[in-house]
Symmetry: C2
Subunit: 245 residues, 2 copies
Amino acid sequence: MSETVEALSRGAGLAAWRQIADALEAEIAAGKLAQGTQLPTEAALAARFGVNRHTVRRALATLAERGLIRASQGRGTFVEAAPLAYPIGRRTRFSEIVTGAGREPWGELVAQTEVTADANGAAMLGVSEGAPLLELVTVHRADGVPLSTARTWLPLPRFSGFAEAYAASGSITRALSACGVPDYTRLSTRIRARPADPAEAARLDLTPGRVVIVVSSVNVDAAGIPIQANRSAFAADRVELVVSP
Amino acid sequence: MSETVEALSRGAGLAAWRQIADALEAEIAAGKLAQGTQLPTEAALAARFGVNRHTVRRALATLAERGLIRASQGRGTFVEAAPLAYPIGRRTRFSEIVTGAGREPWGELVAQTEVTADANGAAMLGVSEGAPLLELVTVHRADGVPLSTARTWLPLPRFSGFAEAYAASGSITRALSACGVPDYTRLSTRIRARPADPAEAARLDLTPGRVVIVVSSVNVDAAGIPIQANRSAFAADRVELVVSP
DNA sequence: TCGCATTTGTGCGTATGTATA
DNA sequence: GTATACATACGCACAAATGCG
């Protein structure tokens, strides 16, 4: 049971809890404490650093506040997965973002239906109310982990072949290209957050009630014509949106 | 008890549930159903429109999905407050945004402490680790309703007079101006979401566990020098972030 | 603490009109 | 014309959450 006590510089202007927080953060950053692993108990950490458990708790609180760890009463404290930095800008592309993070992107088509535009959708896509739209429900993964699930509307008949192209390629960008849209940019982006509804939670493999970030956007083609309205629900634990300046 | 049944055009290609949804949406848009008021019960709406309760439920489901109403089992269905559109861009100013929405802004200083920069804060503000920082906790309101609570760090001694100036003016912009920073722009913005912690919930007047959108940003002065790091928690029900292109 | 009324949530069965093969 | 599938709409019953006395 004899555990060596790590040296903390005491009475030197640097608080003990901060040294502990820095030490643990360094271990997480270095991968010594991997994603999802359980931290030693507060009592064990107190023994390791030769401090009171209150001091350890103060260190853990700062890490928890920054989202590096999550304490769960009665279970323990766990290292959170680092969220994927997801840039939001004029040229947001899921595949490029995930690939750039060194992970493998894939989009899965869950459902497709033909609907008629309501007032809201009509305004976003610049079509008349009641116009036919293709509605797609998709799930987007990085290395198999679902990051977001989206509902996408495209005007018909222009994009009648979109669903097949998407199912085959797993990429919005490539499917649009197959429909004669070589390039597109984002016209508007609105961001909300709320608890996941049961359907979203199932598609994202979340326990019900976890938080999703809802990003509503409209994309336009090179001529500025709206081609796609989109409402994506991101698992809030797994991404961090970065507004590109 | 005799209630007049509103006319729906039946068998004319437009589904009854859609007509009901449109009628209710129009009443909400017109202010006949104000924010926070309870809708008639599903049974009452079914009687009013002369349809089955299922048909009403389908109409309500589409409105709930779009965030216009919120159903609460055992209590009723309520009109949601329209969230404030909050632009996120290079020149984000709380006061200007709220004023532009025709509401009265006010920022309240909850606490101020002098802290030393940890590795994270030091990197964001471009100072050395351990450098003295002023940490402020503030609450930001529109017409008295708290929209966000923020933790702000400013380098010392440059901004030693900031807290007093802020408490007096209730505005970050004016307080910075008093400290010799006439203009500033946003360098970076990162967005996350999670349940509110108890302290945040108290400051935002939220029931514990409601969702907050956490916006972390760094502001720089005209010379590009970081002057302020900020982590704001917005009540997710009360704002919609709009990424300005 | 308990029971009761109110209200939304869910499931099943049935019938009808419409588009498609 | 016939068969099938689908969306729409209705009726009934019960479960679950809430508020009140």
